[in-house]
Amino acid sequence: MSGASLPQACAAMLRRDLTLAWRRRGDLAMPVLYAVIVAVLFPFALGPDLALLQRIAAGVVLVTVLLAMLLALDAMFASDIEDGSLEQLVLSPQPLAPMLGMKILAHWLATALPLIVVSPLLAGMLHLPAAAMPALLLALLLATPLLSLLGAVLVALTVGTRRSGMLLALMLLPLCVPVVIFAAGAVAAAQQGLPWLAPVAWLAAALILAVVLAPLACAAALRIALDS
């Protein structure tokens, strides 16, 4: 008999979830499409005033990406619950937290990364100055995994409930306030020509903490939500 080692199990988890995401790639386009639609609506609602659009561009892109991620978050464990794979994961001899970490990573790669890729396009449509683009991309690269990690804990908590996306939004809002503040703060500072590394460093610190703690919290939440 040969048991599976943790790195092997992590690789298997990552490979399976990415394969699944690829086989359902129609679903992957949805958040991106949603983000594009929302970002396009803003100039129509506010008028094509260049100065105004420049001022709000970064904030609009951040909030749009956040909402698009929220849309996809609900599905993180949904199919695993339905077909019983989540039970098998909980029962496997592997520690649950790193396995969930891999699931979150796969989910981030499949949903947030495409959003980051289109975000320069969105920012360009809203006339964000090119000088602020690196700050926006870096802020998104740090803020989106943070949101995936925090969101995963909350999704795990709602796993045993009747599905409700609104509840998830209500629960996530308090947690994402600081993330939005620091990410938008970095871009705003870059736009004004001020140093913007400090808020980015805070985001990075928060991300490191979340990478360690969120999978553990997610595992604990999942055990609570499955126990009935």
Binding site: M1, S2, G3, A4, Q8, A9, A11, A12, M13, R15, R16, T19, L20, R23, R24, S79, E82, D83, G84, S85, E87, Q88, L89, V90, L91, S92, P93, Q94, M99, L226, D227, S228
Partner: protein, 210 residues
């Protein structure tokens, strides 16, 4: 070492589980030794599935005691020794049986000298190994799930309705697997409505009451 000297694999004393403070089934007492098969019997709603999920560690024991190899049940102690197969098959519909098995092997490990092709052949899925599970029939999906019994190492099998959706050959396959597992020193708990054609001796019966 005789069977009497070794502590039973699984031992329950006045075991019960409560949902909303209501006991789901009447307190149970049983012992399951290595090399034994036990049938969980009861009407619909008598708590058979709940019992299996409880023994697998998906639920918390509400009252009574559960021992694993003579020591209080702990998740860490029996991780990897229990194989639970429930109503939900744990098969990803977008993946093929082979991909599903490869993932299960990555997570739970695999027995020595076992190849995925061999497992698929024995489960009666030769030629279907690379079809998405979505396109298989209900019986074939069940076989794809049962193939994990051949693949994964585990001392105790907890099987919830393993005969559901299977044809005559599928039922024979399950019986063959059960006999081989028990003969090899494994233990099995099976819940089933139908009669079990098990030829490895008289099985223990665990009778459930709501």
């Amino acid at each position: 070492m005789t069977a009497a000297a070794a502590p039973p694999l699984l031992e329950a004393h006045r075991l019960s589980f409560h949902r909303q403070d209501e006991p789901v089934f009447a307190p149970l007492d049983f012992r399951l030794h290595a090399g034994e098969l036990a049938l969980v019997e009861g009407d619909n709603g008598s708590g058979k599935t709940t019992l299996l999920r409880l023994l697998a560690g998906l639920l918390h024991v509400s009252e009574g005691r559960l021992l694993w190899r003579g020591a209080p049940w702990q998740r860490e102690a029996c991780a990897g020794e229990i194989l639970f197969l429930g109503h939900q098959l744990g098969q990803k519909l977008e993946l093929s049986p082979r991909e599903n098995l490869a993932f299960a092997a990555g997570l739970h490990g695999r027995r020595d000298g076992i190849t995925l092709d061999g497992v698929l052949d024995e489960a009666g899925l030769a030629g279907y190994g690379d079809e998405p599970v979505r396109r298989l029939s209900a019986g074939q999906k069940k076989r794809a799930a049962l193939a994990r019994l051949l693949l994964q190492p585990a001392a105790l099998w907890l099987l919830d309705e393993p005969y559901a959706n299977l044809d005559r050959h599928g039922i024979a396959l399950v019986n063959r697997l059960l006999e081989r597992h028990v003969a090899g020193g494994g233990a099995v708990l099976v819940s089933s409505h139908g009669a079990v054609g098990f030829h490895g001796g008289e099985p223990q019966r665990i009778r459930m009451h709501a």
